[in-house]
């Protein structure tokens, strides 16, 4: 019981604020190291693809960005739902914090996908199922951010955002399975949860290292933004005192 109460104290924004500050370097520094290692493996160690040449090296940023875009949306919907169901302020703040980073990764996946599509498919964009559903994901992020910004009362903004986030989460499995459900121009999955990957080991290593780097980066910036949101919403003495002490 005491142990449970001990963990619940971190649901309080003012208690979580200093903890988030301590956690940020533990994610930001490994993220930087892994980005450097991932780029080295991706550009120096991984061989040139016999079909796509060096253009395939775009996947080392495109695939992790696409995965992060989807994963962060699922997390956003989860935290928004928890915040709505249990009136947990920190969860709603976490959902708000995840939105911009998720939108940025979705934008990166679309932009890099377009840059990959031109030399390999001969076109910047096609309205196929994978690309269209990913564009809808970006619109969902932008909609969530805009909706929250348009409502002055943060609690009402959280509730409205939660409805949109929960409804929109249905788009994530559509993105993931779109290459199986429809006949699309986009290639199928090269890495499967069950089954052998269809790419060479150094290419797979570079992709996974970049994925880990993107994940660590996301945690660091989401925690950083969460601290900003806590400061904006909970302007009470405890937070102010912490900031004054840190400065």
């Amino acid at each position: 019981m005491t142990q449970k109460r001990h963990w619940f104290k971190y649901a309080s924004p003012t208690v979580f604020y200093p903890l988030a500050g301590k956690l940020i370097p533990w994610f930001a520094i490994p993220a930087t190291i892994l980005f450097i290692v991932g780029l080295y493996v991706g550009f120096v160690v991984a061989p040139t693809d016999f079909q796509q040449g060096d253009a395939y090296r775009i996947i080392f940023i495109h695939v992790p960005a696409a995965w992060m875009g989807m994963l962060l949306y699922v997390l956003l919907a989860f935290y928004a739902a928890i915040g709505w169901a249990f009136n947990a302020r920190l969860s709603s703040m976490m959902a708000s914090s995840l939105a911009i980073t998720g939108a940025i990764f979705t934008f990166i996946s679309l932009a890099t996908g377009s840059l990959w599509g031109k030399p390999t498919w001969g076109t910047w964009w096609v309205w196929d199922a994978r690309m269209t559903s990913t564009l809808i994901l970006l619109f969902l992020y932008v909609g969530f951010i805009s909706l929250q910004a348009a409502i002055d009362d943060p609690r009402r903004a959280d509730k409205a955002g939660a409805v949109l986030a929960i409804v929109g989460v249905i788009n994530v499995p559509i993105i993931y399975f779109s290459v199986q459900w429809w006949n699309t121009l986009h290639q199928g999955a090269t890495i499967r949860i069950l089954g052998k990957p269809t790419i060479a080991a150094p290419m797979l290593a570079a992709m996974l290292i970049m994925l880990a780097a993107c994940w660590l980066y996301s945690v660091a910036v989401v925690l950083y933004r969460l601290r900003c949101i806590i400061l904006e919403r909970e302007q009470n003495a405890a937070v102010i005192a912490e900031v004054a002490e840190a400065a």
Partner: protein, 50 residues
Amino acid sequence: MDWSMGGYGFYVWGSYLIALVAMGAEVLALVKRTKKLRVQANRLSGFNGK
């Protein structure tokens, strides 16, 4: 390493440049936002910043 990426340099480097700019802009915006909030919080708490 072939810097021209076998003739695909524009597409490959362009992709990484977009990612770098997007993520860099996110971090810079956060640093700026934190600085602004610190000034506000310090003003509210009566902290003179020294």
